[in-house]
Structures are given as structure tokens and as C-alpha cells.
């Protein structure tokens, strides 16, 4: 364990920390790289955020630190040095010894990563038991202390539960406690808060940061969410298409991001404090094997010049500890976090009501889930329904859309009182009120072509048919920024963002006046979310479409909404114009939601 065995370039501290050098992971049998040229240092006690969109290879890097790659890929080259020992060149027996005890992993979705057939108490101590560390009593005590540390009950009843008997936040904290129990030196966290409510997320992040501080653990926090990283990381690495595009201290990354990709990502993120005109990044993330030569971002980059297409740029230092993989960094001007800020929606504007909901009560069988909700929606206006999971926001939107019919109250749409279920409503009302679902992977029929999908509402409502309809489809696809070559594609060939655009085009095909958008961006990358939001904003302005926008993301509400209804357990706790509610929240619940939301501004 002499220092000479480690790299001469990397500033290795001998105790704790981790150094990754020239790591690459390849696809088996194809020699196509998933990630390459990864150099990263985790100092002791430091949290490094590894940010990237889907397909960037961030999870691959994360598991490589434990010398693990998923089936179909293998680690091609590089070193991962833990206290001078290279984990990648160890024998597998040694690697196994390092895993868990020295480098621990916290999985992406602990609800499916905890074994459903083993009680959590047993799972937590499993590793120690197998390695014969401590006695039965000391292990059990360790598990209890660990659970108490992450704010969970530690009694026998809790230890004997199964994963399915815990809530999402609890499962996540059990996974944290489990990873911390063997007292590892390095922690790899793979999007551990995806899918959690903001309050639960804040709780998990606090717990994690606290544990890292008290135990001096270095952590690699893998995520797609820059806002989360801004709250917990000391340094941030931004990945694009299998390479690190930019790496630096958190402050530098958010104050003066220098890679065009980092800037584009930041431009697509909504802020809590201001409304912003969000923008996306044109094109899509290239898959391994389909990446352009030269700089991998060159085909989507607004600043690309010929030189960018020739050679792969090296990471170069532009400020102390701040590295960028861009030959034009420094030439492309400065960046400001308040770029793209627009005025909030005017709370005193004239409103022309199109949809009003009066005293809505919704039931699931005998269970009363939504109580006395009343609000209205004006033309060319976006009303956001915000709340945590289980607050009833989706239930309300489904009832308004006629997908759930067990409700009482009155919903008036442009003078007509709407029937309970969509089947009982007349064609005009059905046509004018369109619903877009959360998950574009499930809402499009995978066997139909895009043309058939988008054409369907036109034929159904007798808007157009034949050649005329096809022309309209092309027009609509153009509006949602998809080319005419998509016409004959099946939905399965499209990426998530493209699918959601098709779903929007399908809704627009019916020429609606009101769109109900049910968490339509929550399954998408931030840059895709940015372009979808920009698209919806354009539709609202040009076509005067009103939207009921269901979301749990308050920052997004600030940018897209004009009015907001804050929901808690099926009741509206606070409502009003977005600027009023977010600037001067009256309710404790709203204040709590706002303070727990991760923010970069």
C-alpha cells in the first residue's frame, strides 16, 4: 500500500477517497464504448455529483467503481484506485471483499432493489453475517442504530417487515442504512431519490449528507437532476455521451458553466424564484456506436465549428479545479443564471372562464379521496395542480377528463355541464377536452405508426380524412418539432421525449380548447422537459389553448403556470396566482413544499 504504486498525476490522499483514471466500458463483442476517458477524484468526505441525461453512461461509471458492469458490457481499461489499490485489477475474491465493506452502493429504485422475500432486518445485516463481522447482538444493534440514524423506527416489528410494507421514502432510507452499516469509505448512490416526493427527497438527501459528514465517507452521487446536485454536492461532473464534458466545484459549475452542454442543461431547468422561458436541446442523445466523431456534442451544439468535428477535445483546465472538454470554452461568452427569466404571469389579467369546477368530491368505492375542490380555468391560461403523491391531483384531472366517473359536483365547460364519464359526453365536448398521460411509453400503441396514431382523433371527430389528414399530421408533427420522416415509424422506435411530443400532437389533432397534462414531463430528461414546456407555451400563446397541468415540481409551475392549486390529502390548502402563492405562501404546507424543493437559483 505504498504511495508509489498509485498514479503520479492524481493527487491521491492515502486515507480514504477514490481515484478513477482513464476508465472505459465497452459493449461486449462490438468494441463500442459506452463510456470512455473518465478521470475522477473523490476526496475523503466529499460528495461529487455525476450528472447526465439518460444514455450518458452515468450509471455505468457508478457501478464501474465497484468493478461491476451489466450484462453485455465490460470494463475495457482504466484504474480505480482505493487507497492506492486498483480495484479493476484485483482478483474477484478481493473485489467481493471490497464491495460493501469499503465501497458501498445505494440503488436507483430500492423498492425493486430490496429482496421482496427477505425481511429488511435480515437484509441489513446480511453482509456482516456472511463476513462474520461482529456478533449476532452487535450486528443487530448496528442495524438498529443505523435505522435510528436515518430516522426510522428500529424496533423488532420494523426489522421484521418486508420491503413492500414500507413507503418509498422508508425503503430508500433502509437502503442507505444498509449501505452505511459496514462503514464503507466510499459510497456510490445511483439516483437514489428519483420518484420520491420533494419532502421525502429532502429528508433522504439530508440524511445522506449528514451520514457522509459524520463518517467521513466520500460519495459519488449519480443523478439526472442538476437541482439536486446543487443542494448536496461539493463538486459536479457533467457527463454527455459517455464522456465527462465538464468538471468543477459546484459554485463554479453553476456560476460560470463553460461547456455549451452544461449551459444548455442549465437553461432547461426551471427556477423557483423566477418564471423562465425554458429551452430544450435540439436533437437527441446519441446511443453508443452512433456518436459523432470529434466532440460528441458537436451535432447539437450552437457554437460548433469545423474543428469540433475533427478531433475529440481533451479535458482542459480553465480555472483551478475546473475542467472542460470544449475547444471553444472561453470564446463563447459568459453565462448568467438569470438568462431566460421572463415576467411572471400577471395576477390581475382579465380572465375569460372556459372551464369551471365546482364543489368536486371524488370517491374510490366507499373511500372519499377528494373533498370540495372548486376552481376555474380561463382561456389561454395554465392552472397547475400541485401536491405530493396521494394528494389527489391526478384523480382530479382524471375526473375532469371523464376517465374516472365516481364523483359529485359540477364541471362546466364553456356553458355545458359535463357528464361524469367521457362516454356520456357528446363528441364536441370530448374533442375540445384532450388528455395527455404521464408515461409516453405506455400511452402510445406500439403497433401503430405515428401517422395512424395522430390521424386517429381527426377521423374520429370527422375533422379530416385521407390525404388532407396526412397533410395535417405532417403539420402537427412539425409544430411539435418532429420531422415528416417519423410518419411511418412505429412508436417503439422513438425516444421518450419524441413519444411525448407524438402524444401532444395526437391531443392537438382534435383541435382542443383545453389540454389536461398529467405529469407529462416527469418521466423525461430535463432538456426534453425544457423543449416540451417551450412547445406548450407556444401553443398557449398562439392557439389560446388552456391547460390543467398536474405536477409535483413547483419550479416548473413557476415557469409554466398562471394559477396554482396546492393540494394535500384531497383538499385544496392554498390557491391563487402563481406569483402570489410562491412569493407569499400563507400555509405552512406550501412553505414546507417550497423550502424542500431543490433549487439552483
Amino acid at each position: 500500500m505504498t504511495a508509489t504504486s498509485s498514479s503520479d498525476a492524481a493527487p491521491v490522499e492515502k486515507k480514504g477517497g477514490l481515484v478513477v483514471e482513464d476508465l472505459s466500458v465497452l459493449l461486449t463483442g462490438k468494441d463500442i464504448d459506452v463510456v470512455n476517458d473518465i478521470d475522477l477524484v473523490l476526496k475523503p468526505g466529499e460528495v461529487v455529483g455525476l450528472v447526465g441525461e439518460s444514455g450518458s453512461g452515468k450509471t455505468t461509471v457508478g457501478t464501474s467503481l465497484l468493478n461491476y458492469s451489466r450484462a453485455g458490457a465490460y470494463i475495457g481499461s482504466g484504474r480505480v484506485l482505493l487507497e492506492g489499490r486498483d480495484i479493476l485489477s484485483m482478483k474477484w475474491q478481493e473485489v467481493r471483499q471490497v464491495r460493501g465493506e469499503e465501497i458501498a452502493y445505494v440503488p436507483q429504485d430500492p423498492a425493486s432493489a430490496l429482496n421482496p422475500a427477505i425481511r429488511i432486518g435480515k437484509q441489513i445485516v446480511e453482509l456482516l453475517e456472511l463476513r462474520g463481522i461482529g456478533t449476532k447482538e452487535s450486528r443487530l444493534q448496528g442495524a438498529r442504530d443505523g435505522l435510528a440514524e436515518v430516522g426510522l423506527p428500529s424496533d423488532d416489528e420494523f426489522l421484521s417487515r418486508y420491503a413492500h410494507q414500507l413507503s418509498g421514502g422508508q425503503v430508500q432510507r433502509v437502503a442507505l442504512a444498509m449501505a452505511f452499516l459496514p462503514k464503507p469509505k466510499v459510497l456510490v448512490l445511483d439516483e437514489p431519490t428519483t420518484g420520491l416526493d420533494v419532502t421525502t427527497q429532502a429528508m433522504v438527501l439530508e440524511t445522506m449528507a449528514e451520514l457522509c459528514r459524520t463518517h467521513g465517507v466520500s460519495a459519488l452521487y449519480v443523478t439526472h437532476d442538476l437541482a439536486v446536485v446543487a443542494n448536496i454536492a461539493d463538486r459536479v461532473a457533467v457527463m454527455y455521451a459517455g464522456q465527462i464534458a465538464e468538471l468543477g466545484p459546484k459554485e463554479a459549475m453553476f456560476r460560470s458553466p463553460s461547456h455549451p452542454y452544461t449551459r444548455a442543461l442549465l437553461d432547461s431547468i426551471p427556477h423557483l424564484s423566477h418564471a423562465r422561458a425554458l429551452t430544450g436541446i435540439p436533437g437527441r442523445t446519441p446511443a453508443p456506436g452512433a456518436r459523432p466523431s470529434g466532440c460528441r456534442f458537436n451535432d447539437r451544439c450552437a457554437y460548433a465549428v469545423d474543428a469540433c468535428r475533427k478531433d475529440v477535445p481533451e479535458l482542459r483546465e480553465i480555472a483551478p479545479d475546473h475542467q472542460v472538454r470544449c475547444i471553444r470554452a472561453g470564446e463563447i461568452g459568459t453565462w448568467d443564471i438569470s438568462r431566460g427569466v421572463v415576467p411572471d404571469a400577471d395576477p390581475d389579467r382579465k380572465r375569460d372562464i372556459i372551464l369551471s369546477i365546482d364543489n368536486l368530491n371524488i370517491f374510490y368505492g366507499r373511500k372519499h379521496v377528494v373533498h370540495n375542490v372548486s376552481f376555474d380555468l380561463a382561456k389561454a391560461e395554465v392552472i397547475a395542480l400541485v401536491g405530493e403523491s396521494g394528494s389527489g391531483k391526478t384523480t382530479i384531472s382524471r375526473s375532469v377528463g371523464g376517465l374516472h366517473k365516481d364523483w359529485t359536483g359540477t364541471i362546466t365547460f364553456d356553458g355545458d355541464v359535463l357528464a361524469k364519464s367521457a362516454r356520456q359526453r357528446d363528441a364536441t365536448n370530448r374533442k375540445r377536452l384532450q388528455y395527455i398521460f404521464q408515461n409516453p411509453y405506455l400511452s402510445l400503441n406500439p403497433r401503430l405508426t405515428i401517422e395512424q396514431i395522430v390521424k386517429r382523433p381527426m377521423e374520429l371527430f370527422g375533422i379530416a380524412s385521407g390525404k388532407e389528414a396526412t397533410d395535417r399530421v405532417v403539420e402537427l408533427l412539425d409544430q411539435v418539432a418532429l420531422g415528416p420522416r417519423m410518419l411511418k415509424y412505429q412508436a417503439s422506435r422513438l425516444s421518450g421525449g419524441e413519444r411525448q411530443r407524438v402524444a401532444i400532437a395526437r391531443a392537438l389533432a382534435a383541435e382542443p380548447d383545453v389540454l389536461i397534462c398529467d405529469e407529462i414531463t416527469s418521466a423525461l430528461d430535463v432538456s426534453v422537459q425544457g423543449s416540451i414546456v417551450a412547445l406548450l407555451e407556444g401553443l398557449r400563446k398562439q392557439r389560446g389553448i388552456s391547460m390543467l397541468f398536474v405536477t409535483h415540481n413547483l419550479a416548473l409551475v413557476r415557469s409554466i403556470g398562471s394559477g396554482v392549486q396546492i393540494l394535500k390529502a384531497g383538499r385544496v390548502v392554498e390557491s391563487g396566482s402563481v406569483v402570489t402563492v410562491m412569493e407569499t405562501p400563507k400555509e405552512e404546507y406550501t412553505r414546507n413544499l417550497l423550502s424542500k424543493s431543490p433549487r439552483i437559483d
Binding site: 457501478t63 465497484l66 461491476y68 451489466r70 450484462a71 467481493r96 471483499q97 471490497v98 464491495r99 460493501g100 465493506e101 458501498a104 452502493y105 440503488p107 436507483q108 429504485d109 425493486s112 432493489a113 430490496l114 429482496n115 421482496p116 422475500a117 427477505i118 446480511e126 453482509l127 456472511l130 440514524e149 430516522g151 426510522l152 416489528e157 417487515r161 418486508y162 413492500h164 410494507q165 414500507l166 413507503s167 421514502g169 422508508q170 444498509m178 416526493d197 419532502t199 421525502t200 429528508m203 439530508e206 440524511t207 449528514e210 405530493e388 396521494g390 414546507n592
Partner: protein
């Protein structure tokens, strides 16, 4: 640590409901319901069996064949024995009552009580199926685990091809091949036919059992093995197996505790179906090896129009189906925590 204190007390955290206080009562209710359903199933089976064997057509004419017209004395005798004058309902209920009190009637062909006649074959068949199960279950799981270990590589392909080939062979072909290999042509290790004394059991000489058992094992384990392999593969790809590996758990433990435990349930279901199937489907194997089991007995009785024996054996086979599947369901639930806790709470 003060901020952690506030985390604990967070009112927003939903807590899963505590496990049911009335677990025992809920289990009792569940089992009672399942038993009730099983009894109902058997009752329906009894109606069908009775209709098919005794009520449709004229059993006496069937039994006597051409003698029917020539031998009116025998006809009268049989009519009395079968109580043919009574209505179909009273005959059914007489028979059902007999079944419930353990009186299976008298064999028409031999004149001996049915229970005495079939007790030997039932025991023999049960022994055969039991031996087959004991060998088949671990063998199929072992093959499945080896296959998964080498998944989509050559050993896996070879195993799968061989399994599919065996599954495609009719059981008598397997039996004949085994006979040729181990009893008659190549090696002469095991007896080709079962020599059983009228008093003893066939398994008094263990060598007799080898070939019939082996045939059944070869016949059934490909199915079980393929199902277990499929569900193991699914589990192996799951995130909790990935986490177990990333946690540094040795591969053997990952397979046994993390993977197999979650993959075992589909295996149990298919084993139950196969065992139940064996209970009624050993006819060919028993014939091939002249093994004195219920299959052989059933064929004889059908040939002799021995209505009472056919009825009794049919009901026994049906009961085996129902009981084995009931046990499989119970085991599946016990091994699936989600289902188990759903019942007890």
C-alpha cells in the same frame, strides 16, 4: 444530529400499517375457504364420474355384452347388485354416501370389496410417484441453476436442446430406450419387468423401482426445469440480485438466497401440476414395466366394465389433483411475503 430529530417526527411520512393482529383468524378463514372450494370441486367431480360410468347407457348390457340376451339370470343378479331399479338420484346418493363412509362398493368382476382390491395398487403407485418426485425436484432445480449459470452460452444451449428433445419424446419411448440400455440389450443391470409376489410390495426389491422411476423423472423434469430456468433468469436480471452482488454477497449465496427463493414459486406450481398428472398418467409406464399400480388396475377395470373400481379410482385421482394443487397454492403463498402479509392483515 438535531435536524435528524425533525426527520423522525415528520408528519408527512406515511407509515405502513402494522401487521394484522388477527393473523391466525385470517389464516383460518382463508384455509377454510380453500378447503370448502376443494370439497365443492370434488363433489362436482363425483357427479361427472357417476354420470360417465354408471348412469349413461346400460352398464349391465355393457358388462355382459353378447351374454345379455342369453343369460337373463345373470342380468337379474347384476340388476340387484347395481340396484338398477332405483332412480338415478338415489343410486348416486347411495354411492356418494358409501364414498363418504369409506365403503367403496363391491367389484363386479371379482366380487371382492373395492377397497381391498385397490389398496395395493394405490400404495404402489403412490410409492412410484413419491420416488419420482424426490428425485425429480432437486434434479430439475439443479439443471435449471446450472443452465442459468451458463446462460446463453454453450452449456446452456446444450442443456436446453437436450431437455427439449427429452420433453418431445413420448414416455413409452423413453421407457423402451431405458429398457434397451439398462435392462435388455446393452447393460443388464435392472429387471425389465416387475416381479411382485401377491403378498409383498414391488419395492421390496429396490432394483425393480429404478427403471419406472427413472422413466417418470426423465419424462417430467424437462418441463419443471425449463420453467424454473425461465423464472430464475427473470429474477437474476432483477435489481435486487444486482444489489446483492454489488453489496459483495458471494455468488452462491446470491443464487440460493436471493434468486432461488424468489424464483421457486412458479416451480412449485408446475411441480404440483406434474405430480397430479403423474398420479393419473402413469398408465403407460406401469404397463410397460408391468408395475402393479393404479394405472394398470384402471385399464383392467375399464376393460372389464368394473364400474365400481373405475369410480373409486377416478375419485382417488381427482382427490390427488385437488390436494396437490391446494398444497402448492399454500406453499406459494407462504413463500411470497406480499401474498402472505395480504392474508394476515
Amino acid at each position: 444530529m438535531t435536524d435528524l430529530g425533525t426527520i423522525v417526527a415528520s408528519p408527512l411520512e406515511e407509515v405502513a400499517p402494522p401487521r394484522g393482529q388477527h393473523g391466525a383468524a385470517a389464516w383460518f378463514l382463508w384455509i377454510a375457504r380453500r378447503l370448502g372450494l376443494a370439497v365443492l370441486t370434488l363433489w362436482l367431480v363425483s357427479i361427472l364420474v357417476f354420470l360417465a360410468t354408471a348412469a349413461l347407457g346400460d352398464p349391465i348390457r355393457a358388462i355382459l355384452g353378447r351374454d345379455y340376451n342369453a343369460n337373463p339370470g345373470r342380468v337379474a343378479e347384476l340388476e340387484k347388485l347395481l340396484n338398477a331399479d332405483a332412480s338415478i338420484f338415489s343410486r348416486y346418493f347411495d354411492w356418494l354416501g358409501g364414498l363418504l363412509t369409506g365403503d367403496l362398493g363391491t367389484s363386479l368382476a371379482s366380487g371382492r370389496p373395492v377397497s381391498e382390491l385397490i389398496s395395493g395398487p394405490v400404495q404402489n403407485s403412490a410409492m412410484l410417484v413419491f420416488l419420482a418426485a424426490i428425485v425429480m425436484i432437486p434434479v430439475s432445480f439443479l439443471i435449471a441453476m446450472i443452465s442459468v449459470h451458463y446462460r446463453r452460452r454453450r452449456p446452456d444451449t446444450v442443456i436446453q436442446t437436450v431437455l427439449l428433445a427429452i420433453a418431445g419424446l413420448p414416455e413409452f419411448v423413453i421407457g423402451v430406450l431405458l429398457l434397451a440400455l439398462l435392462a435388455t440389450t446393452v447393460f443388464k443391470v435392472f429387471p425389465a419387468v416387475t416381479i411382485s409376489s401377491p403378498t409383498g410390495h414391488p419395492w421390496d426389491n429396490w432394483k425393480v423401482m429404478v427403471l419406472p422411476t427413472l422413466t417418470l423423472v426423465l419424462w417430467v423434469s424437462p418441463y419443471v426445469s425449463r420453467i424454473v430456468r425461465a423464472s430464475l433468469l427473470e429474477v437474476i436480471d432483477s435489481e435486487y440480485v444486482e444489489l446483492a452482488r454489488l453489496k459483495g454477497i458471494p455468488e452462491g449465496v446470491v443464487m440460493r438466497k436471493h434468486a432461488l427463493l424468489n424464483a421457486i414459486v412458479p416451480g412449485i406450481q408446475v411441480i404440483a401440476l406434474q405430480l397430479a398428472f403423474l398420479a393419473g398418467g402413469v398408465v403407460v409406464v406401469e404397463t410397460l414395466f408391468s408395475y402393479p399400480g393404479i394405472g394398470l388396475q384402471l385399464v383392467d377395470s375399464v376393460r372389464n366394465h368394473d364400474v365400481q373400481v373405475v369410480q373409486a379410482l377416478s375419485m382417488i385421482i381427482a382427490s390427488v389433483y385437488v390436494v396437490v394443487n391446494l398444497i402448492a397454492d399454500l406453499l406459494s403463498i407462504l413463500l411470497t411475503p406480499r401474498a402472505r402479509t395480504a392474508i394476515s392483515s
